[in-house]
Structure formats: structure tokens, C-alpha cells
Homo-oligomer: 472 residues x 2
């Protein structure tokens, strides 16, 4: 029977590879395949389950099987090479987006950062003042490249609270999570190596990977359930992957949380195949449920996982304090840090350490999570009210990103451009993947404070989306 | 006659290449060469001047010509390839040095940073307080990736004061000069490219180049006169060089200042050959003469030079605020910044901008230059008093590095190790080149405050050098 189902699966793979069955298209019913290929219903089921396991098709409840829009490349598929260089950010559309990141005159719905009044700004300001009063010289002197011991202790304590044992001596303090990931990639990879990312994933990761001359293979992040360890393992089996950079806690832009079973299996798969696992745990503290999900690190028995994080989304974006940790890699990370930025600024490190030593950080975090969760709901409702029917919005489980699939083939790039003209920053979906799968997507941040102005902005965007839809 | 002097020169080149004449060895007198080779004294002079022009030999007043210890590689010299991969920092000795950079329990004669009491710490502290009072939200929010406009304006103004026209819009604010150089290298080069550095040069540049998988060719930095544009051009003619990273204003470790004629010729040579010129202008404000020498940028007619600098050596090391600028490269630098550290911390940027707006920075700079210059002299005198006869010390024209050639073949690495045991940090000479030319050198910083403890430390180091000398 295994030969029979494999024959059926291979036939369907070929149809997908040749474009006979296209992304988003419904597969023939199980009954029909059974008839066509003269196999039993059970064999047809087994074939479909196999294709689903490979990430080529997905089951939709009460509807049947569909070719995934984010299907991973088939080996030998000429039209979509499995491994290719990420697109460097050079075409005018992408440059326009970089420009947006730097503009201060826009309503920043493009920026995944919480409004300052959702953060404990007064407490941080007091910590800055206290630091300058008590430790002025230390605040103005070079810090050690590894970072200030007090801060490393506080980071380790924070992880201990979610059941993860971190040694302060394995931590390298960085200028935010992005520097942490950049250092990790530079420590682990060489130009030409293959890196596994999610699709969709944070555009900054794609750009960091592109800047280092790395190639990329992508594993789908599934709305709601995050990374599928079996899919990831199948990709690792097929490609010579050096490192994986994953955002299991609230993928940006999807907001999904990868479950603990998948996390554990992802760590095991990477360890078994010698793939260095780099996790971006930037949003780990921002679970709407209130329960901090564990990082991949929790399941790491070999010390090979590099965990990156930051206080930028929880305490003070502008202080640029983050970390990279992982006992096996501390030396390499430290070397990369030494010879690219020497050390993280001292005053911000000391101020954050002081804040954490003097405050129960769970209080402001509870408030922040509550507000972000409420915002996600408010944004979703406003979009339901004001945007064209058929617009689909993600239901994030944490973080502050909303991922929209636009109605009737409206292009994310077109809406992004039109929104700029309205003074509103958004991010077009195509930034979030090395493929062309998200041309009809858009990312919005729901980190700003909800008010009438925000509702008005979302209404204006919805009207623009509708205008673009009619023009088609 | 030109054929005659070239015949003589080629004979001596051959002797140097084959090791018959060794680094540091005195060449035969002009009279003797004339006799040996049966040429006139004038021809012998012309031959030696040619070898000097090529950087192979140096004239020492009232002593004759010597084979340079930093002689550039001869083409065809099998024993010393002209272009090779820089040594990655992996052998235990080098790792030990990295460890020193991170230790806080040493007297930091290894750290090229001024004592805090030579810097305007009180003024910076007041600027931090004022910034938090007046611009708290801005200080805690993400800055634009390019950096705060107020700070960029202040940087441009500072350059205007030394006659260099900089547009604030071409500046990218960075976490110190090291990040600036790292961004510049990442913007300009690809793995495998050849980069030209000085020898000796700051070990951090070699490490940054190594981390990017670049290869290196080295032009000697001449004690006293810095970079020789003709030597540099000869190397560019011979090798396919992508970029040059130079420290024309007070090379670290030598402390030499490259003259304006050489600067102008260096810029012209690089422009003519399509070599991107990256200058580390970190010490430009620290001329002992009091006259701020121009950066290479001053002679750049095409906008292709990237100038990197920092406030780390002049205002506040621990705030980690620097810059990279150069109109042709702003976009690339900004992209590299965006996708490796997003933005420089806001509070430090605003505090430095506030300080510069409210103070005449020339006052503390005058004091700093005066103190560093006096320190260099004090250090030199103490070394003359306490170290073995034959120890040679550089006479820096600015900055805070002293470059020592140890007496009687004492190894810099051995003295470095022994000094660690005495609680004193130094840096062994071999870190400052990709070659093996500086095994008998040591770098000391004279940035700390002079006092009895310092004299005692220098005496202890001298006694250790003497002990090592006797043991040989």
C-alpha cells in the first residue's frame, strides 16, 4: 500500500510542480482521486496526508484539500528553486519602504513599537536619573563588551521566572534584538550558507540575511499554530541548512504562537542535523493570554540554541538594550560584538538594570499586554467596519502586528503607496518573504494608543483599499 | 645612469628578499656599495633613495640606511605573499587578549580611552539631565535609523570648523567609530575582496576585516610621517583592492600624522583606481599641536570617501555615539545600519547634541589635548628611566597610544603575559598587523591620569621587561 499512495502523491506533486494545480486551487476530492487512480479511499487519504506533511497542500475544514500558497519548493521544481539568494533591498519599491522607516511625519502604523504611554516611561526616567546620580562615571565610561554584570543578572532572573535556566556569563548585551541576531548570524554563518526562515517573517531578518550574502529556504508559519516541526525537518533533510532563525513566540507579522510540542521537536530536529538554531524571543513577554510562553531555549539540552531578545518592546525602545545568549556561542558572539560595535552604551544598560532591580516589571507588563490585546481586537473590529468585505485579518496571540489579506486582489504595495499620500505608514506584504506569496498582504501595527484619530485612520485606509478594489 | 642605479637597487632588493639583509639590519654604507658595485656615489645614493621610496629601507640620521621592519612585500617574494587572509582571532594568545579587553580588574594601560576626569563628565551629566527633563519621550523612543537631526547638525558644524563642508543629510549616526567602520566595510565589500590597511594599525580593524572574510594588503605607516601616498599607489597598482581603511590622523598605535600632501595624493590615487576610501577620523580632535588636522574628506572631490568618527575619545566613551558620512554611500550605510542595529540609542544622541549646543566644546578639548600631550611625555620619560636601555618609544603627534619596540628581542607577547600577572593590561605588538613584524612591540595607552601609581606601574613593567631580557 505504501507504494500505491506514493504513486498517487507523486502524480499530484508533478501537477503542482508543473503548475497544473496552482497555489490556492482545490485538489480533486478524495473519492475522485481514488476513482481516477484506481486506488482505495484509504490510499487517497494517505497520499493527501503525505502531501500535507510535506507542506504542499492544506486541508480546509468541510471544504477539502487546497494547494498551499506558501507551499515549500519541491526539489527539482524548475519554476521555483528551493534555495535562492534573498532579494536585496534595491528595487525602488523596497527603497521607498526603507524611507518610510526613517520618516517621522507619518502616523506610524508601520512601526512595531508600543506607544510610549503604554510603557513605564516615568519609571525608566527615574532609573536614568538615579543611575546618573549614583553611578555617573560608570554610565559614561566604556562598558565591558559582554555587557554590565548587573544587567546580565537581571536578564537571567527574568528567564528563570519562566523556568529557563540562564547563566549570566553566557549573555552578551547588545543594541537591541536586531544587533543580537546580526551578531548571531555573523558568528555562525559564512557567505553562501543556507539559512532557514519562516514565511512570512520579519523583513529585517530577510534583509540581515541578504546583507551577509546568505541564501534562504522558508518554512511556512501557519496562522494560529506557528511552525510545524515536521515540515521544518523535511526541509532540513532536503537542504544543507547552516542555521535557522525563528520567531516561535508571536511570529511577526502573523502573531502566531508555536506550541510546545512543535518547539521541542524543532530543537531536536536542528540538534540532530547540526543546524544552529537562532530564536528571536523579542515578543515572548507579550502574550495576550498573560502566560509567558517558553523560548526554544527551554528545550535545548546541548547549549547550541542562541536566544535573542530585547527591552525595546517592553520597557524603552530608544535605549536599545537587548541580548544574545547561548553557552556554546558566547565567545563567538562576544568577538563579533567587540569588533563591530565594541560595547553597548553604558548608561542605557545601567538604567534598565536599575529599573529591573527596583520595580516589579510584571505590573507594567500586565498593563501592556492587556492594552495590546484590546488594541488587536479594536483594530480588527475597525477593519471589519471600514474595509471591503473579504479583507481577512490575523488573530494574533501576542505582540502587536496585524497581518491583513486584502480583498479582491488589491495589492499591498498599491495600498502602501496610497496610504503614504494620506500620511499613514503601513508595510506591504511582499517585504515579509523571499517569495511572491504576499503581494496582497499588508502589515499594520496595533501598538499605538486607540483613539478617535486611530479609528479615522483605519477608516481612511479602508476607503482607500475599497477605491483600489473598484479600480481593478 | 638610470640603468646603473636600478641594477644596484635590484641587487639589494634580492638580498632583502632572500633574507641576506634582514629587517632592522644596517645596509652597507654608500661608499662601500659604490666600491662593491663599481658605481659612483651619486648612483648609490639614487639606488638607496629608490629603495626608500619603495618602503624597503629607511634612512636614520647620522647612522645610515636600514632594512625596514615594516617593509612592504616584494612582488615575487615567495616567502611573504602580498595578499592573504587576515589571521582570525582564534589562537589562544589572541583569545587571551580579547579576555583582557573585557576585564575590569586591571590597570587599563591596554585601553585607548582617556580617564574620565580628563573629559567634561559633569557637563555631559547635566546634558543627560536636561534631555530627560525636556525631551523625555524622544529620549526613550526609537530614533530614526539615520540618527537625530540635531546631532547630525552638530557633527556637520564641527567639521565646518576645520574647513570641511558636510551636509547633515549625508551623516549616519552610529554606536561609535567601530560600528561606523563595520557598516562601511559591510556596505562596500564582499567576502573575498582585498582591503588595504596600514601596518601597524588598530587591531580592531584587522579583526573587523577578518570577520567579513576579507583579505588584506598592508602599507607601512612610517613613524613620524604616516602614510606614503606613493607606496600606497604602488600597492594599488599591484593588487585589485576594493577599499582602503586608513587612520591618517594619529594612526593607532604609532600616533603619526599623515601630511596634507600625502592625504591629497592618497585621495587622488584611490579615486583614480576606483578604491573606496574609508577613514577612521577618531583621533582628529586630539592633535597635541592644538591644530585640528583635516580628514581625507577635505580632499575628496567626488564624494566617495567615507569618514568615520566618534565622541568616544573626546566626550563620553560610554554613550557610544559616532558617525559615518560620505554623500555617495549614505543610502548603503543607512541600509546596513537598519538591518544590523536599527538605530543608535536615542538618549545618548540627544545628550551629546544638547551638550554641543550648550557648550564651547573647544574648551574641554584644549584641556584634554594638553593633558594627553603631557602624558605622552611623562610616559616616555618614565620608560626612559625604568625600562632597559634600547627600548624605543614612539613620539605621537596626537591621540593616546604609545608604541614601544622592546630592547634586546624581548617579546611583546611575553611581556603582555607577565604584565597580566602584575594586574596591568597592555597589548602585544603582533595584534597590530597581519604580519609577524611586531613580535617585539607593545602598545601602551597614556590616556589615564598621571600619578605616583602610574609611575610605579611603568617601573614595574620596565623591571619585568628587564627580567625577560636577562632570561634570554
Amino acid at each position: 500500500m505504501s507504494l500505491l499512495y506514493e504513486r498517487v502523491a507523486e502524480s499530484l506533486r508533478g501537477q503542482i510542480r508543473r503548475g497544473v494545480l496552482r497555489a490556492g486551487e482545490r485538489l480533486p476530492s478524495l473519492r475522485r482521486v481514488g476513482r481516477q487512480q484506481q486506488v482505495s479511499l484509504a490510499t487517497a487519504v494517505e497520499a493527501y496526508v503525505q502531501l500535507e506533511r510535506e507542506g504542499l497542500v492544506e486541508a480546509r475544514p468541510r471544504s477539502g484539500y487546497y494547494v498551499r500558497s506558501t507551499a515549500p519548493p519541491l526539489s527539482g521544481a524548475a519554476s521555483r528553486p528551493a534555495v535562492r539568494a534573498p532579494r536585496p533591498m534595491r528595487n525602488p519599491a523596497l527603497l521607498g519602504v526603507l524611507d518610510v522607516l526613517t520618516r517621522s511625519d507619518l502616523l506610524p502604523l508601520h512601526a512595531a513599537t508600543p506607544a510610549l504611554d503604554l510603557l513605564p516611561a516615568a519609571g525608566i526616567a527615574a532609573a536614568v536619573a538615579r543611575t546618573m546620580r549614583r553611578h555617573r562615571d560608570e554610565a559614561l565610561r566604556y562598558a565591558a563588551p559582554q555587557g554590565h554584570p548587573d544587567l546580565r543578572l537581571q536578564i537571567a532572573r527574568r528567564y528563570a521566572q519562566c523556568g529557563v535556566d540562564v547563566d549570566p556569563d553566557e549573555i552578551v548585551v547588545t543594541a537591541g534584538a536586531m544587533e543580537a541576531i546580526s551578531l548571531a548570524l555573523r558568528s555562525v554563518t559564512r557567505s553562501g550558507d543556507v539559512v532557514l526562515l519562516e514565511t512570512p517573517t520579519y523583513y529585517g531578518l530577510l534583509q540581515a540575511v541578504a546583507a551577509l550574502g546568505l541564501r534562504v529556504v522558508e518554512v511556512p508559519n501557519r496562522v494560529g499554530t506557528g511552525i510545524d516541526a515536521a515540515q521544518l525537518d523535511a526541509l532540513l533533510a532536503r537542504h544543507d541548512v547552516r542555521a535557522a532563525v525563528l520567531v516561535p513566540n508571536f511570529n511577526n507579522p502573523v502573531g502566531s504562537l508555536t506550541g510546545e510540542a512543535d518547539k521541542q521537536a524543532v530543537v531536536a530536529a536542528c540538534a540532530a542535523r547540526g543546524v544552529v538554531l537562532i530564536e528571536d524571543d523579542l515578543y515572548g513577554e507579550l502574550a495576550y493570554s498573560g502566560e509567558r510562553p517558553p523560548p526554544l531555549r527551554k528545550f535545548d539540552r546541548k547549549g547550541g540554541v542562541i536566544t535573542c531578545g530585547s527591552f525595546s518592546k517592553t520597557l524603552a525602545p530608544g535605549l536599545r538594550v537587548g541580548w544574545a545568549l547561548g553557552p556554546h556561542w558566547t565567545g563567538e558572539l562576544l568577538r563579533a560584538k567587540c569588533f563591530s560595535s565594541v560595547a553597548t552604551a553604558s548608561l542605557p544598560q545601567l538604567a534598565i538594570a536599575d529599573y529591573l532591580a527596583h520595580h516589579d516589571v510584571d505590573r507594567p507588563l500586565r498593563r501592556l499586554r492587556r492594552e495590546l490585546s484590546a488594541n488587536a481586537q479594536r483594530w480588527r473590529e475597525a477593519i471589519a467596519r471600514h474595509w471591503p468585505a473579504g479583507t481577512r485579518v490575523s488573530e494574533p496571540a501576542g505582540g502587536m502586528a496585524l497581518w491583513l489579506e486584502l480583498a479582491d486582489g488589491v495589492e499591498g504595495g498599491a495600498l502602501f503607496e496610497a496610504a503614504l499620500g494620506q500620511g499613514i505608514g503601513t508595510l506591504p506584504g511582499h517585504l515579509f518573504s523571499n517569495r511572491d506569496d504576499y503581494r496582497h498582504h499588508l502589515r499594520l501595527s496595533c501598538g499605538l494608543r486607540w483613539d478617535a484619530k486611530m479609528e479615522q485612520a483605519l477608516r481612511a485606509l479602508g476607503a482607500t483599499a475599497d477605491r483600489l478594489r473598484r479600480r481593478k
